[in-house]
């Protein structure tokens, strides 16, 4: 191929990758709006602080060590990755223009930053589930371990070429590798810190704790939806020829179709089950559709993608209600959206991708869950021994904002609760 064509194609693939990175980065805003909308106003500043700082901590730690654990130059084995720090140099013009199969076709710096925003998204999943009761700094300390070590090890197993990849486990953009992984860590945290005070009554009744700002939560949903085009579209890793451009366009179509179907399905089920159309279920339905299609957004037709999203939307409503029955308190539904819908998504791959096997998907899901849950549980227990994860009962009633951050979100309004 002409050198000029190779260089332009390299530039285009890199450019596309960077644009997708910016979209995924923007999902941090989506999580921040969603989570701050679904908590009470007395905990708004704290959840925003968590969302902002976890993004910062995740980026620092992933740059320092996480990326190298996930994509080791010289892995110890297919289970144990290597350890290395910071970043190497980018591709030389010679290496790129040499052409052929092994030649790099996009900037390795672009690869790093794309992976870094994925790591941050994984951590964002946890913050919603532990909202309104887990203290800020213990959470950020956990983020260091999560993004520097726990998530990259599991990421290495699949995307870094480890044993799950060799086993034929299929997960395109991370229904399990990112979403269920984040949910598993969130579940470990929720089991340790327990439910919010007053969430579950003595006689087994589930008390509603309505969020303070549903317009903000809805904005969060749409921001996440938009970011997902980068999340799934970017995971194709290439756009600069007709086939790849078509593939990316198809991923956009399927991603959107799944979200739309998941949203409508969840709203309808909510209407049927509760007699009312619960907006928080509508929001969770769209996100569940997105999580479900993430495992394979390329192979299905738009119709099948819609069906995968639709089931995701149904599953998430049942999961939210089911987790409440088990007294697992998840204020924003993160475990249901990312975990339950993620598991559906990974097995839905069996219907669309002939390369996927039931055993492969099962082992991939179980191994990821066991590691993410187990490692998170142990790290959180140790942090809990040294500094308490949960705020005191008084602080919880008064609100995290004043106690952790020394301010309130809306100081000009009188707090009512």
């Amino acid at each position: 191929m002409d050198t000029m064509v190779i260089e332009v194609s390299y530039a285009l693939d890199t450019f596309y990758f960077l644009m997708c990175t910016a979209l995924v980065m923007w999902m941090a805003a989506g999580f921040a709006m969603l989570e701050s909308g679904l908590v009470r106003s007395k905990n708004t500043v704290e959840i925003l602080n968590k969302n902002a700082l976890l993004y910062g901590v995740a980026c620092i730690v992933y740059l320092l060590v996480g990326y190298n654990v996930m994509y080791p130059g010289d892995p110890v084995s297919s289970v144990i990755p290597g350890i290395d720090f910071l970043l190497g140099s980018d591709n030389s013009v010679e290496a790129v223009t040499a052409g052929g199969e092994g030649a790099p076709y996009y900037s390795s710096m672009a690869d790093f930053i794309f992976q870094a925003v994925f790591a941050a998204a994984t951590m964002s999943i946890v913050s919603g589930a532990v909202a309104e009761r887990m203290r800020l700094w213990p959470f950020l300390i956990f983020a260091i371990f999560m993004v520097g070590f726990i998530y990259p090890v599991e990421g290495y197993w699949k995307w870094g070429g480890g044993f799950l990849d060799q086993l034929g486990f299929q997960d395109f953009a991370g229904s399990v590798v990112v979403h269920m992984a984040g949910a598993a860590a969130a579940l470990a945290a929720v089991l340790i810190i327990g439910p919010r005070k007053g969430k579950y009554g003595k006689n087994g009744e589930v008390n509603a704790i309505p969020g303070a700002n549903l317009p903000m939560a809805t904005l969060g949903m749409f921001i996440l939806w938009m970011g997902w085009f980068g999340f799934n579209g970017g995971s194709e890793l290439k756009i600069a020829n007709v086939d790849e451009a078509n593939a990316v366009a198809k991923i956009f179509v399927n991603t959107n179709a799944a979200a739309a179907a998941g949203m409508v399905a969840a709203a309808l089920l909510s209407r049927l089950m509760f007699g009312k159309t619960d907006l928080t279920m509508t929001i969770n339905g769209a996100l569940a559709g997105l999580v479900a299609i993430t495992a394979e957004p390329l192979m299905p037709s738009a119709g099948v993608a819609s069906l995968i999203g639709l089931v995701g939307g149904l599953v998430v409503v049942l999961s939210v209600v089911g987790l409440d029955k088990l007294k697992i308190d998840d204020p924003v539904g993160a475990i249901s959206v990312h975990g339950t819908a993620g598991i559906w998504g990974i097995f839905a791959v069996l219907f669309t991708n002939p390369a996927a096997t039931f055993t492969g998907q099962l082992i991939g899901t179980l191994a990821t869950f066991a590691w993410m849950f187990g490692a998170s549980f142990i790290v959180l227990l140790v942090i809990n021994k040294i500094i308490k994860l949960r705020v005191s009962e008084e602080e919880e009633m008064e609100g995290m904002d004043i106690n952790e951050c020394g301010m309130t979100a809306y100081p000009e309004f009188t707090p009512e609760k």
């Binding site: 008390n207 509603a208 089950m273 509760f274 009312k276 619960d278 209600v321 409440d324 539904g333």
Partner: protein, 112 residues
């Protein structure tokens, strides 16, 4: 002189205000309040869990009127704010000992 305190539905405020103004009422004070009556709030739903909204948002309006106006004023409020459904509110009338206009120092009916 009487002080009329009415608790009404928020959406009834505009029709009540304009009808009272047409009848020659010169002023009133309005506040957003919350409360419950015999209905004791109403159920709401959030993420599959029912909960009770114990206090309903209402508007409380207060106006001082001359004895001769009391019947007309309460009649206007009662008809304009009525939907016939539970939650229409209440009107309280109490006697008013004195009124002072701060700017001029006028007292009594002159100050209303």
């Amino acid at each position: 002189m009487k002080i009329v305190t009415a608790i009404i539905r928020p959406h009834a405020l505009e029709v009540v205000r304009s009808a009272l103004q047409e009848a020659g009422v010169n002023g009133m004070t309005v506040g957003e309040v919350r409360g419950f009556g015999r209905q004791k709030g109403h159920p709401a739903l959030y993420r599959g869990a029912e909960y009770n909204i114990a206090f309903q948002p209402k508007i409380q309006l207060e106006l001082a009127v001359d004895d001769s106006q009391v019947d007309e004023v309460t009649e206007i409020i009662a008809t304009q704010a009525r939907t016939g459904q539970v939650g229409d509110g209440k009107i309280f009338v109490a006697s008013l000992d004195s009124v002072i206009r701060i700017r001029t120092g006028e007292t009594g009916v002159e100050a209303i």
